[in-house]
């Protein structure tokens, strides 16, 4: 078994991305879709930090990852607020049911 290299991290990132895509595409539960989006963002983050460490050097990749984490937190807060609002309006969080922007 080879020692840990860049490719290992890229493979982990790729698998996380594929599984997150699967989650986003196959769920009707809005909260689960948001969790899939979090997985996608994490996959991108792993790739950013891995390339930063092994190829580019410096800190740009880590700074970008930090901003991605911040924006992911913001996205989760607003997204879950919208989910709660949808639940109050439609009494379900099935994403197919949310086809109106009013009550």
């Amino acid at each position: 078994m080879a020692h840990v290299t860049l490719s290992h991290f890229l493979v982990v990132g790729g698998l996380l991305f594929a599984l997150g895509l699967f989650t986003v595409l196959t769920r009707r539960n809005a909260v689960a879709v948001l969790m899939g989006v979090e997985l996608l963002l994490n996959a991108a983050n792993v790739n950013l930090v891995a390339f930063n460490h092994y190829v580019v050097g410096g800190l740009a990749g880590q700074v970008f990852t930090l901003f991605v984490i911040v924006l992911a937190a913001a996205e989760a807060a607003v997204g879950l607020a919208i989910v709660l609002s949808i639940f109050h309006t439609f009494k379900t969080i099935d994403v197919r049911a949310a086809d109106l922007m009013r009550e």
């Binding site: 890229l10 990132g13 599984l19 997985l39 460490h53 092994y54 880590q62 807060a77 197919r96 009550e103």
Partner: protein, 208 residues
């Protein structure tokens, strides 16, 4: 019953990681010649820790993708995020590892658990149906995952030979010098997010 399920999940994630290990070990010899990747030699403790963390991340992601119960899904996301936080340590991103644990596990996941508890009706556990269908998702995954893994393994990346180093202090300096404007904009975005989330989720708004 619960333990059988847990055992099944652990075995499934182990199988996935073993598959990745075998695949990358078989496809990696071209990579071994490039600098920065000291291939060969016995498996060290560092390698074992890496494989355990990778198993945690990928197994958790598999749990998110495949579990039918929304509560188990969010707990699987917890493991996945913790695994990714551990992987950051291997990339000399110590601050990011801590930030990942604090923000994702301590913040986002708690938010998600709140949403699950507030929206999921007890008798209606299986809200997590499939819309595209498992077939469509599986086909797409069968296309995307090998493509990404092939790119990761086959491309001869120009790898540097770098030691692990602490980057927290340098990251703080970079945030307040080179990246000051994005840093301040991020705080503005967070403020707007906070106000927006409160306004959107407030119930009294409907009474007006």
């Amino acid at each position: 019953m619960r333990f059988r399920k847990l055992l099944a999940w652990s075995l499934a994630s182990l199988a996935v990681v073993a598959g990745v290990a075998v695949a990358s070990a078989r496809l990696a010899p071209a990579l071994a010649a490039s600098p920065g990747s000291s291939a060969g030699g016995p498996v060290t403790l560092v390698d074992l820790v890496f494989w355990a963390l990778a198993a945690l991340a990928v197994g958790g992601a598999a749990g998110v993708a495949l579990s039918r119960n929304i509560l188990y899904t969010s707990l699987a996301l917890l493991f996945s995020l913790m695994g990714v936080a551990g992987l950051y340590v291997f990339l000399s991103a110590d601050f990011l590892a801590v930030a990942q644990v604090l923000i994702y596990v301590g913040g986002v996941l708690v938010l998600i658990l709140f949403a699950v508890m507030l929206t999921n009706r007890i008798g209606d556990v299986n809200v997590s149906n499939t819309s595209l269908g498992w077939a469509g998702g599986a086909i797409l995954m069968a296309v995307v995952a090998p493509l990404l893994i092939a790119v990761a393994v086959e491309v001869p990346w120009k790898v540097r030979d770098v030691p692990l180093e602490q980057t927290t202090a340098a990251l703080g300096n970079a945030l307040l010098q080179r990246w000051l404007l994005p840093f301040e904009l991020a705080s503005l975005v967070l403020l707007a997010t906070m106000i927006g989330a409160i306004v959107i989720a407030r119930k009294e708004l409907k009474a007006e």
